[in-house]
Symmetry: C2
């Protein structure tokens, strides 16, 4: 076990990580600017800039000598539990993934994605699955080849999931989701019956500038650092990191309903707090990097749902909101809270409430699993989708644009991503419950609008470790036990079924 400072190969890898982080953050700026600022006609040149940067990063990382440095570090070994150990493990993983694909396959995949994306947009407009099916078929075939090149232990689909959730396996997800689904269906059935808050009580004007001011107050209160970040407007809200001290959120505004931008900000600020909580001194190294989408999503859901849709939140913030938007003065915090937690049968995933959301995900996970297991033909996807949708949500899908054509993911060749949304929900509930159990004072702090206790717990247990542990281990270490659906089901029952 040598000191890594004396290991020149390790030092070279650190320097390379630093350089690649400079490029990656430049790529992030090019993307952020495209979504929030760039004039319309800038798009073609921007695509060339992004392609150049992507190619350059790939070339630099996949050089043979980089593989040599990693192998040399593995030979020397690292102290158990050290930064070095985790960095070398993750560099190896990334290097193997990046070098195992033949460049002809990479190129064909990119080409196919580009064509499939517009074919999907057309097909969705026409609600015509058959127009998208040949593209989907090709993308699935290429994804199979990618998975075969990467390799897997149990099933091919796992190799795809691993791109988004390090170490996740479909067998475990199946078990996790299997326990969750019947309970969710039961909760949903009951929640649908609950009387909604009269929408007239929230009716009125919500000027964008006032929403911005209110959202900023809330984001600052939960701990988002505006010296190292900002909020802009984008069609699809997102959060992106542009450097160790530069985290940018976006949201969108509906001037007839302030909840859309507020929960957009709370969700993205949750991602942003994770980003701002990473170790800046290790920026670009695996130990300074968020561990997975499923853990990232736990942070966004935590602040959006567990904090932002709670009764305690509205006890604290409704009076302030009513100063910006006087029409809210007529609501009680209880009503406001209920108005932010209403379950509804609906077709579209991105508009789904907290109860039904995971049902949308499970349906996609089951269909992807079946397709990659060879048990479901492409042509049969719509039928299978619609059958399940009726089983899960009691709604009959009348057109594929409301069904299996609604999401962009497949058209981009992204398979194995959807489960991370549900993992985010389960992790959020599991971590939130653990934080409150370990530090009971957090609950009363939240009642007083003091979010530092909860954030401090997440900082220490989730943000600071970066990618030191695999996602499931990180969550289990933080909470003291591995994530199960229990906490999430308890959360949903208390939110949606308590009268």
């Amino acid at each position: 076990m040598s000191d890594s400072a004396e290991n020149p190969d390790y030092q070279k890898l650190l320097a390379l990580s630093h350089e690649l982080a400079l490029l990656q953050d430049t790529e992030a700026l090019l993307n952020w600017d495209q979504e929030t600022q760039m004039p319309r006609d800038g798009v073609a040149w921007r695509a060339e800039q992004l392609a150049w940067l992507g190619g350059e990063m790939h070339r630099r990382f996949t050089r043979d000598e980089v593989g040599g440095w990693i192998a040399a570090c593995e030979d020397v070994g690292s102290e158990e539990g050290s930064d070095e150990e985790a960095n070398v493990r993750e560099w190896r993983h990334a290097y193997d993934r990046a070098t195992k694909l033949p460049s002809a396959l990479v190129e064909e995949f990119e080409k196919t994605r580009a064509i499939a994306k517009s074919a999907w947009a057309e097909a969705r407009k026409a609600s015509d699955f058959s127009a998208f099916a040949p593209h989907l078929e090709k993308l699935i075939d290429l994804s199979r080849q990618r998975a075969e090149n990467w390799g897997y232990e149990d099933c091919l689909y796992d190799a795809l999931i691993d791109d988004f959730e390090r170490g996740a396996k479909s067998a475990n997800l199946k078990k996790l989701f299997g326990g969750l689904r019947p309970e969710l269906v039961a909760i949903a059935g009951e929640a649908f019956e609950r009387e909604p808050v009269d929408p007239a009580k929230l009716a009125g004007e919500y000027p964008e500038a006032k929403q911005q001011a209110f959202n900023r107050e809330v984001a600052e209160a939960i701990g988002f650092d505006f010296d190292a970040g900002r909020i802009d407007t984008a069609v699809h809200p997102f959060c992106t990191g542009l450097g160790p001290r530069d985290t940018r959120l976006t949201t969108r505004y509906d001037e007839s309903d302030f909840r859309s931008s507020l929960y957009g900000v709370l969700h993205e600020a949750g991602h942003g707090l994770y980003d701002q909580g990473l170790r800046g001194d290790c920026h670009g190294q695996p130990v300074g990097r968020a561990v997975s989408l499923g853990v990232h999503e736990s942070q966004s859901r935590l602040w959006e749902n567990h904090v932002g849709r709670s009764r305690a939140f509205w006890d604290r913030w409704l009076p302030r909101a009513a100063e910006y938007f006087p029409q809210l003065a007529g609501l009680t915090p209880e009503e406001m809270c209920r108005a932010c937690n209403q379950a509804e049968r609906s077709f579209i995933r991105v508009e789904a409430d907290e109860v039904t959301y995971d049902l949308h995900i499970m349906l996609r996970f089951e269909i992807e699993s079946a397709v990659f297991a060879g048990d479901l033909a492409i042509a049969d996807i719509p039928g299978e989708w619609n059958q399940r949708f009726e089983d899960f949500l009691g709604l009959k899908v009348e057109k594929d644009s409301d069904g299996c054509l609604q999401d962009i993911h497949w058209s981009l060749g992204i398979f194995g991503y959807f489960p991370t949304y549900s993992l985010g929900n389960l992790n959020a509930s599991h971590l939130y419950a653990a934080a409150l159990a370990q530090q009971p004072e957090i609950e009363s702090q939240l009642g007083e609008g003091d979010y530092s206790g909860l954030l401090g717990w997440m900082r220490e247990k989730i943000h600071q470790p970066g990618s030191r542990f695999l996602p499931t281990e990180l969550v289990a270490r933080a909470a003291g036990s591995p994530a199960t659906p229990d906490a999430h089901l308890a959360h949903l029952r208390s939110r949606y079924l308590a009268s």
Copy 2:
């Protein structure tokens, strides 16, 4: 004379130009974002990103094989007046400039600049030239070394000027400015006596959002294309190109006077129209690139001053401005025009009016000339500055922060830049007069708020040629004769002396 499409070395240079343009525009985005969007704490990481990109571009362009490609193209030769001829000429010039500096000198210059910049900021705050003098001395010494490495024909200072104005020589500038100065002093003396418009007539609120809307209308009217550009807010207004169809302007707002942001926008939109008028298919090549600062500044001054401060402009735009800002309804176009053309004795260059502006420049040019000729010691700069200032403008400089410490340029090691501002003014007047002489209908068009004739002339004569000709040749070809001070003096007399 071979077809350049068959010359593989020329093709390699085209490909390299394209690649470097991708990087350069990425650098421009990093800078633009830093000035307009970036959160405060992003600055350190941003500096690293910029340093990486700068280094990478330098490395790629200065490789030995690039010199080989250029030499091979020179051996083959190009058709006279062709794109190829101009590209090869400019690549050679840039390659020689980039490769002639020993890297130790480059490093020391960069290091010295970084330190000098903060020393200057401190010295200016304390109005203490002696605190800045040693840094200035070192920068001047290093600049001498740079010039010696680059080489020059007549005088060392020319090698520095050439960085900003290809082919300009201080002997010519001296002659040009020499004819201008006494005339300017005479015009200024008379203009100072003219009764200013009562400021109370313009007093009132100018809300930022309304200024933005008005400025946008004006910028659109003169031809700035918002599908390929945008306007943002920055402390120091600037214009930057981020790609062949992405040109960004900035301005700043004073809510008690809309003229500051309006003329900021007109000035920067003048730069932007040049940028948008370049040949997009040659983006990154010399023939698709603006030729010099002195020509760039001619375009900004033209739209800001010749168009934007004219009586015809206010005949057209005052009624519209008064719809946004009702307090303006009491002014006549003649008064508004006069209020935008008031000569004043003032210490600060960037606040100077059109008459006195060039006097500020000449003073700097004469001091830089004397310093690099070895005729003026660093310690004597303040005395020399103040003496000339009193001669030119009749004002006694009481503190160096109002005198030789006011500009940032020297602290950045930028010598030979100032003359380009005056070249811009002279070129603007010369080109404007030529356009009106060649196409007399432009004048009546301007009266109707139709700017397409004037823009079309500039597009054809100045923008489309890019860097095909050296700046003085470009201007002479466009106007039919080389630029002299005559047109500018006539312009100032009619603007400032006609009652």
